[in-house]
Symmetry: C2
Subunit: 329 residues, 2 copies
């Protein structure tokens, strides 16, 4: 990544801004329902709409050979985003989370019951729209990605000895939970105008998804350190083993390892304890190691684009890699 | 229904016994997973497998023109049953139920979290298998039915004044929650060998699904009365308005209506109170009315078969109507 400054999300999305508007309209159309409750819940979800990162990838991938099938790509983008939102709603239901992106969750605002059923509603609606595109390949790609995501979640819920998980366990997990849908987004994008790049984009998306999650997990260790000076360390608080800790554990002294074990044995570890472990992870090279793995997957993602001809869409996908790698929140 | 004795489920299933074996094998194949947790949970679910009522309908419908496409019908039957099981798992998650068909739920045996994700896993797997059948019509039918089921559930969760719901509200609800999937089962059955009967069977299934749910709701009022002499009245206990109560309310005196209102205002009504309301519902003709509505839908179901040629499969579908109407549990 030879750049001094990483591209912003706005730059990544510049060439598909109109398309993203179409995706938003498609999503509204999909979640309209005859029950006022479903309407209210949908309205809340649409209001807290995120960065539309996955639809952006669908649109960029669809435009790699010039003429994107715009309406199909917009529907496909909306379907992927709805599946993503359905997954978040169920994740929050499983974790009984009350906040997501600083906004109250469906759980908190409505009820736990409603979040279970609303996730099902969004997923069923997304698939109904997907079927309307009459493309079995797209369905195959997305139903497989959904299965992979649920298996990843089940695998995580069934981990008994979290602290013994290896780097390979971690990679298998984030591939299932994150990279599978990012890869699916890129792959079905090509099916709306650039099918010749299907396999290249599936590989690109998988590598990009790995970068995305590794950086997410890094931010959990670094973000607050840069601003308030105190790490939030949410993953540590929730006893999640991510790459920085896995890498650092290999280099820790028995005393340091004991410190980590204590934290994982405590129901509610103190801020001080978390800060201490964040310090150890940093000193033992965990952040640096994770950063290097993120860079390696970023290179893989860029390499996957080597056979794709120059275009604004391709430039957008290259920028997306730097954006994901360099983002701080 | 001129018969003295209603057919047993065994009689309904006689002509498709081999097919049901194939459905079971297909289901096992579908739920195999590489995580031991998913395997354990699937094993439990397969162990508590129900009557395979929906796959029976798929198989009978597929054989209406003689040559059923046996392997496709078995897969389609397995897909429908898995979607049904996924719905039950999420219903139990929503209700925090601990027992289902006398067996512990996934909720109780594993955890609430696992039941949310396991429902998602089963549904995604079912759809992945469905896609492998390469039939867009089947996908359209099943994704629509799934959406309808979730909308029905959302509608029920959002009812504010349960006691004011009308017979029409009730019919809309059970059509969405029950009849939609029974209809879909019959319709996709025809797509495995007898497509000419597609619309007839969709109507048949919808009417049969209505009978199924009305009888289920009747049993809740009558079952225990016949055995222990005391009604369980689970629906009343859970403040669910079903047809017997809706019909009886129209004929009640103000005092009787007051009695019902008191019950619905109590968090945990006593057995005595429930027995009293069951008595009122019976005296005011609620059971009789629901029974007549069940019979009317049963006639509709039979009428839908009028254009279908005589065969063992058609006889099975006719028997299924009597079986559903006359069953007591």
């Amino acid at each position: 990544m030879g750049r001094v400054e990483a591209p912003t999300l706005g730059q990544v999305q510049a060439s598909v801004a109109d398309g993203l508007e179409r995706v938003s309209r498609a999503m509204w159309r999909m979640v309209v329902a005859d029950t006022s409750l479903a309407g209210q819940v949908s309205g809340h979800l649409m209001g807290m709409k995120g960065k539309m990162f996955r639809p952006t990838l669908v649109l960029l991938a669809s435009a790699l050979e010039g003429a994107s099938e715009e309406e199909r790509a917009a529907t496909a983008g909306g379907v992927v985003e709805l599946i993503h939102v359905a997954t978040l709603v169920h994740d929050d239901a499983v974790d009984h989370s009350v906040l997501r992106r600083g906004m109250p969750t469906i759980n908190a605002l409505f009820s736990h019951q409603i979040s279970v059923i609303m996730g099902d509603f969004l997923y069923s609606r997304a698939l109904t729209e997907l079927v309307s595109l009459n493309d079995l390949d797209m369905m195959r790609v997305l139903t497989r990605a959904s299965t992979e995501m649920t298996l990843g979640e089940l695998r995580q819920l069934s981990m008994l000895d979290v602290l013994s998980s290896s780097e390979q366990d971690y990679e298998v997990l984030i591939k299932a939970k994150t990279a599978s849908l990012v890869s699916a987004a890129c792959e079905i994008g090509t099916l709306c105008g650039a099918p010749v790049h299907r396999h290249a984009l599936a590989s690109y998306g998988e590598a990009l998804g790995m970068v995305f999650q590794i950086v997410d997990d890094l931010i959990d260790y670094t973000e607050a350190q840069e601003t308030t000076g105190k790490p939030t360390g949410l993953d540590l608080r929730e006893h999640k083993m991510t790459l920085p800790l896995i890498a650092a554990l290999r280099k820790m002294s028995p005393a340091e390892r004991g410190c980590v074990e204590t934290l994982f044995a405590e129901e509610s570890p103190t801020d001080q304890k978390i800060a201490q472990v964040v310090g150890i992870v940093s000193e033992r090279g965990g952040l640096e190691y994770a950063r290097r793995r993120g860079e390696a997957f970023a290179s893989q993602a860029l390499d996957s684009l080597s056979g794709v001809p120059e275009s604004a869409a391709r430039a957008g996908l290259m920028d997306a890699v730097s954006y994901v790698l360099e983002r701080h929140s």
